[in-house]
Every structure is written in structure tokens, then in C-alpha cells.
Amino acid sequence: MICRIVETPVDMDTLIGDVAEDDIGGVCTFIGLVRNHSRGQRVTHLEYHAYPEMSEKKMRQVIEEISERFGVDRIAMEHRIGTLQIGEIAVGIAAASAHRDASFKACRYAIDRIKQIVPIWKKEFGEDGAVWVEECSVDAETA
């Protein structure tokens, strides 16, 4: 299963192909795109930074948690770092299951959990300069 930090564009077909097998009925994907606005300000582009080795380790942890919680084992995820333009894919997730309910739950859990525990940061560049977006302080107890 694909689980990695990349510096190249995220290709959803690759992620979908990675999880889809003949016994799979449904694949739920989530695609996180760079938006042109944030907190009321116009965004021109973003820079994503990561602690790459730890990020991949924590992404693998997310996949293990999903397996335990939802019984879904076929999950692929990629998070891009570097400079991203508006409309480019920052994160792609694909979760496959025999039935659709589990695939939705797995995919939703994945994106929520990535935001909590995977050490990736973004800097937003807008008309008024650049700012680190700090959304979630990591709680060591639950991470």
C-alpha cells in the first residue's frame, strides 16, 4: 500500500489502482486541494514542509488504526510537500472495501487523523505576506 511524502504531483489514479482489487466493491477517495482563500485572505500559493521520516511513520500508524477500527486494510495515501499552486493536490487518500460504508468511514478517519498527528506544516503566501498556518497542537497523549 502506498504511504508516502512526495515532492511531485499526487496522482489519484495511482492511489486508486493501488487499493482496487477484484474483491473490492467501493473506493472512497479524498483529495485536498490548495484553495485560493483562507481566513478571509486571498492565497497566491502554499509551501508545505514535513518531517518526512516521521510523517511516513505516523501515516502508517493511521493506516493501522483504520485496520483496527474499521477492518479496512486497503488504504493508500500521499502528501505532497514543496511549493504548491492554487488547485494542486496537497493530499490524496484512497480507501477500498467490499462495501461502501467502511470505505467512507476509513477515508474520513484518515484525513481527520492526518491533520492531528502527521508532522506537516504549511506556509500560506498571500497579498499581506506569508504566515505559518498552525491548526493543531499535537497532544502527545493521543498521538
Binding site: 485536498g32 506544516w121 498552525e134 491548526e135 499535537v138 498521538a143
Partner: protein, 83 residues
């Protein structure tokens, strides 16, 4: 002992480098590391509770021990995924 700590994002801009060296007592803990960090960089002291510390690529509580061979890092609030 002198430990080397990786810095990312906002932390990197404060320390001015990918890594910072901090003096902590032998058999010291993450708490000691935080104290040393706050003394050296007041910007950290002001918001220490929002910074996480990782030891060997796992998030660590304040009572966890640190040693010279550990891979240590400062983890400011994250923003991976998307809003």
C-alpha cells in the same frame, strides 16, 4: 550533555537552522529539554505548551527521558492535510 534537536517550520525560523544544540542534564527528560530551549530562545518560552517534542519519531510526554543518541525534534502546531 549536549543533544541535537531537529527544527521544523516556525521553529526553524526561530532557531535559524535545521538543528539546534541544547544542553540538558545527564539522564534528563523532555521537561529539561524544554527548559533549556526556553532559556536559549524566549520565543519558545512564550508558547511552549503549543510545541510538541518527538523522541525517535514518536511524540513524547514531558517525563520521557532523552539521551545523546536519540533523534529529537521540535514540532510546532501542524497543518497537514487541508482545512
Amino acid at each position: 550533555m549536549l543533544v541535537t534537536v531537529k527544527c521544523f517550520a516556525w521553529a526553524r525560523e526561530v532557531t535559524g537552522g535545521d538543528e539546534v544544540e541544547l544542553e540538558v542534564p545527564d539522564s534528563g527528560t523532555v521537561r529539561d529539554l524544554r527548559e533549556s530551549l526556553g532559556k536559549k530562545f524566549p520565543a519558545f518560552a512564550e508558547r511552549m505548551e503549543s510545541i510538541a517534542v518527538s523522541v525517535n519519531q514518536e511524540f513524547a510526554g514531558d517525563s520521557q527521558g532523552v539521551s545523546v543518541g536519540d533523534e529529537l525534534a521540535l514540532i510546532p502546531p501542524i497543518s497537514g492535510g487541508v482545512s
